[in-house]
Each structure stands twice: as C-alpha cells, then as structure tokens.
C-alpha cells in the first residue's frame, strides 16, 4: 500500500503521508507482546494523554469557532457572507481553485507517467524539484513570482510590454496557487501507476486499442481513485492558500481579494462576525474534501490489494 520505503520514485516526500494507512484493517488488539501483558493502567494512561492532546489541539479550537459564529449571531454572519466583498472573494477563490486543479491534474498525470514509467538522466532531480513547493514557504513562492513577473522581472518586462498585468492581478494569483499545489496529483498517482504496472496496457494494445484508447479506457480507470485523491488534496490546498496568493495579489478589496485574505482583512479590521462565518464556510468545505478523500482512499487501498 502506501509504503514510502518501497516506492523507488516516490519523491523525497513520499508524499502520501495522509490518510489512515489501513482502512478496513482489523481493529487492533492482536497478540503483540507490548500490549498483551495486562497493561491496563499504562494503556489507559497513554490513551488518555492522546485523547486530551487531540481535544486541546483540534477539537476545542473547532468547537470555539462554531461557538464564535453562534455568538456573533446567524443573521449577522449571513449578512456578512452575503456582502458583495465576501461574495467576490469566494467566487474568486473558487475560480482560482478550478483553474489550478485543471492545470495540475493535466500536468500532474503527465509528470506521474514520466516519473513512474520512464528512465532518463536527470530524473532524480525532476523528482526532487516536484516536491519543492511542499517544503518551501508559500510566502517565498509568492515572492519569487513577484521577482519573475514584476515590472523589472525577466518575464514581467514582456508581459508589461504586451499590456498584461501578472502581479497584483489574477494571472499571478493563479500561478502562485498552481505552484503550491504542483506535487499533490503527481505524488498520489505515481505509486498507483507503479503498482498497477504496464501489463493491462499491453493487453489493451494487443486487443487492438490505440494509444488514446488505451489511455482513456485502461490507464485512467486504473488510476482514477488515486487521481481523485490527488485532485481533492489540490483543491483543498488551493481553497485555503493564503500566503503565496496574498503576497502576489496585494489583496485589493473587491478585486484581488480571495476568501482567505478576506478572512484576514475582516479579522484585522475587528469585523469578527464576517471572519468567523467565512472561516466556518472554508472549514466545512475542507471537511467535505476530507470526507471525499477518505472514501477515495479506501478505493485506492482496495485497488492496490
């Protein structure tokens, strides 16, 4: 399954660290020596620590946010969500997310095919660089795009001459979001491709399928759940991206302000109701994404058996 160790080109990140590694596996409590000896006291103590830690770190903050929305009042929350500024921010985020997902799905599959199926000089480098956006600060990522596409930048000069604004405008925000979400699809699809091998594709070819037919009828169906998982990760990350987009967008209210920078702005301006309500919307969206991922990951695990 998701065994980073076995994955020869899983990239430095061996990224699929997310997800319960064994859905549907029998519940624990086997005969492991370290648990079988009547260790009731110690066991309960350790479980207690974990539950308390999890509550303090994750559950209480989540609860506090829901509380915050309730305290601010539903009417007030809805009013702020319905405001043109908030609406614009959410639609902008949605648009950027869709574009990033489409682009990174397309190139992510190509990258995965290349990394899983080909051998060439420089593969190790390509493999490492694909993971870089994950380890690099989004602020630095955004800053790099400012330098590249700014008025004095190598590419900025060209675009400026053509009358196209990249920085502090939509193209820059899309580029920044694409940058931070590059690894996800690739890292999810590579192990699935390696696992399923090329035999089914060979079989399709001997049965008379041409390259496209093989790709659409065999390759895509065999990677679909891994691909879906990667798409969900990409979408979740794109919806919530803040630093990289903020720095290239300049966060002009009603123009280049995304949902996350809207939350930030409302918070800085002490408009807590708007900030809390928008946060809850994004949190629910990411929660739904997580549920979808959970379902797909189970299918991935089934497929890999």
């Amino acid at each position: 399954m998701r065994d980073p160790g076995r994955d020869v080109c899983g990239g430095a990140f061996a990224f699929p660290v997310l997800g319960d590694p064994a859905p549907g596996a029998p519940a624990p409590g086997g005969r492991a020596f370290l648990r079988s000896r009547g260790s009731g006291g110690a066991e309960k103590f350790l479980i207690g620590i974990v539950l308390v830690w999890f509550a303090v770190l994750v559950l209480f903050p989540l609860g506090a946010m829901v509380r915050g929305v309730i305290d601010a009042g539903f009417a007030e929350s809805l009013r702020s969500l319905a405001s043109p500024i908030a609406q614009h921010a959410f639609w902008l985020t949605l648009g950027i997310t869709v574009i990033s997902v489409v682009v990174n799905t397309f190139f992510g599959v190509i990258l995965a095919l290349v990394l899983a199926r080909q051998k060439f000089a420089g593969k190790l480098l390509l493999n490492g660089v694909v993971d870089l956006p994950f380890s690099l600060s989004p602020v630095v990522a955004g800053f790099m795009f400012i330098i590249l596409f700014g008025p004095n930048g190598w590419l900025g000069k060209w675009f400026e001459a053509g009358g196209i604004r990249v920085i502090f405008a939509l193209p820059g925000m899309i580029l920044a979001t694409i940058f931070v979400t590059v690894p996800f699809v690739t890292r999810e699809v590579v192990p699935v491709l390696q696992e399923s091998g090329t035999e089914q594709e060979d079989a399709a070819r001997t049965l008379g399928a041409n390259g496209w037919q093989t790709f659409w009828r065999i390759t895509i169906p065999s990677i679909r759940w891994g691909l879906g998982y990667g798409v969900c990760l990409t979408a979740a990350r794109a919806l919530g991206e803040f630093g990289a987009v903020l720095i290239v967008s300049g966060s002009v209210i009603g123009r280049t302000q995304t949902a996350t920078s809207y939350i930030h702005q409302e918070f800085v301006d002490f408009h807590y109701a708007g900030a809390y309500a928008a946060s809850l919307v994004l949190a629910v969206a990411s929660f739904l994404m997580l549920v979808a991922m959970e379902l797909m990951r189970k299918r991935v695990a089934d497929r890999m058996e």
Binding site: V50, W53, I147
Partner: protein
C-alpha cells in the same frame, strides 16, 4: 516513401507497448517544461536577483537585526514544535495502531483535518479559543501565561498545522512491524521497556525522522496561522515568512531577498534529508 517507412519503424521501436500516446520524449519534455516554468524558473529568478547584488549586500540583508531575529525565532519555534510533535505524534501513532478505545476511529479520521483546513482559519480558531477575549485566554492571562500574540501561540499553531505528519508516517511502519520480532525478543528475556527500545524504536526511527523533517519544513515556512496568532511585531513575534511579507508589503523587496534565500536553502536541505531517510527506510525494508 523511404523516410515515411523509417519514421514508422522509429515510432514502433521507441514506443513498445505504449503507442502513439506514449511518445516518451514528448511527455518528458512536457513534464520537464512544466516543472521548469512553474518551479525552476522562479527559483532561478530569485537566486539571480539575490546574488546579483553581490554577496556582501545579501549578507547584510540576512544579518539585519530584525531579519536575523525572525530567522532565529523561526528556527527556535520550529525546533520546539518538532520536539513536542515527535513525542506526541509517535505516541498517537502507537496508541492508534496498538490500542482499541472509544473515539479511536474519530481521532484517526480527523488527524488529517489540520492539513485540509486553511491556515488562516487555523489561526482564527486558536485566537477565538485562547485569545484575550476568551475565557481560557483570560484564565491563562490571570496566571501570567500569554498565548496569543506570543511565542506559545506560535508553537501551538505550528503543532496544529503539522499534526498529521509524524502520525501518518509512523503509523504504517508500526502496522507493518512484525509482531514476532517483539515476541522473539521477549522469549530471549527482554522486558517490555527493552523490547520497545531495542526492537520498536530502531524500526520506526526513519519514519519518525521523516515525519519530523516534514513538520520542520512546513513550520519554517508557515505563514497564515502564525500571522494571525502571533501578529507582526518585529523583534518579538515576527517569524521569517511574516518578515518577508512585511518587507514586500512596505515596498522593500530587496530587504526580503536574504531571508528568502535562507528559507529556500533550508527547504532544499530538508528535501535532501528526506531523500536520504527514504533510502535508509528502504534498505531496512529490503
């Protein structure tokens, strides 16, 4: 005609089993071109701009008191987080894999949530819970403990956003651990603590370190949650990412170059460390 035939032969030879779609060179060129444009070119642009002004200027940029402080603070906070996360993450993975208890599947399912939730929302949640307006915050303030707009808040935010990494890299290794190894050690006379130290720890160590490195790299670049939780107070709570943001916002991109290069270099180091760790893990498996 002859040329056409040769071309067909070339096609057949270069693409055994993968046909028209699989022209490997075309796919490879697309992959490399995409990564080159989206990732490599910006990095080169940043590096050229940073080193283009001379090393002396760049160095001055890094050792500026507020810049240096932001870097030191970032590293200190990241290390503090890593220590806690390694301990708690390993414990969590252990408890989730080995014990059965009510709420286990809920905890297991929600572990990834911090990864999916936008960082701004994370920051906001922590402020609502621990901020000066909240009951918890007032209680802590009364005890002289400041969380929000202070260092504990930064560590807390980092712990939240990096929660999945150690747990999720240790969990599969623990599950794959051969229980007979532990039993063998026990029959050889090792007590439970010795078994844990001599059998379990060496097996999961590469995974723990992988989780630690992932957490560390995420922490040194973290922006959204920290900017909300810690604010933007130079020489007090301003971490490196927030420092860069501040410099760019105040129209001084030159000032951000030094810290950016340091963060970039750290990212590369983490990538290399992860690559090496992965190789160690693979050797252990084999």
């Amino acid at each position: 005609m002859a040329i056409w035939k040769a071309r067909r032969a070339w096609k057949a030879r270069s693409t055994p089993g993968y046909g028209d779609l699989g022209r490997p060179l075309l796919l490879r060129a697309m992959a490399a071109g995409y990564i080159g444009f989206i990732i490599a070119l910006p990095i080169v642009a940043l590096s050229v701009r940073a080193f283009g002004g001379g090393l002396g200027k760049l160095w001055a940029n890094v050792v500026r008191p507020d810049a240096l402080y932001s870097l030191e603070l970032t590293l200190a906070m990241a290390f503090a987080m890593v220590i806690v996360n390694v301990a708690m993450g390993t414990l969590m993975a252990w408890v989730l894999v080995r014990y059965k208890f009510p709420g286990r599947s809920l905890v297991n399912a929600l572990i990834d949530l911090p990864f999916a939730i936008p960082t701004v929302v994370t920051g906001l949640m922590l402020v609502i819970l621990y901020g000066p307006q909240s009951a918890v915050g007032r209680f802590m303030a009364a005890g002289g403990v400041e969380v929000i707009y202070a260092k504990p808040g930064i560590v807390l935010a980092l712990l939240f956003v990096t929660l999945p990494f150690v747990v999720r890299s240790v969990q599969p290794v623990l599950m794959g651990l051969d229980k007979e190894m532990e039993e063998a050690a026990a029959t050889l006379g090792a007590n439970r603590w010795v078994v844990f130290r001599k059998v379990v720890v060496p097996s999961i160590l590469p995974a723990v370190l992988t989780g630690a490195a992932l957490s560390f790299s995420r922490a040194i670049g973290e922006f959204g949650s920290v900017v909300i939780v810690a604010g933007n107070i130079p020489m007090r709570t301003q971490v490196a990412a927030v420092f860069i943001y501040g410099e760019v916002e105040s129209d001084n991109p030159q000032g951000a170059l030094g810290v950016s290069i340091v963060l970039l270099a750290l990212s590369f180091l983490v990538l290399i460390a992860l690559y090496l760790l992965q190789r160690v893990g693979r050797n252990q498996d084999a």
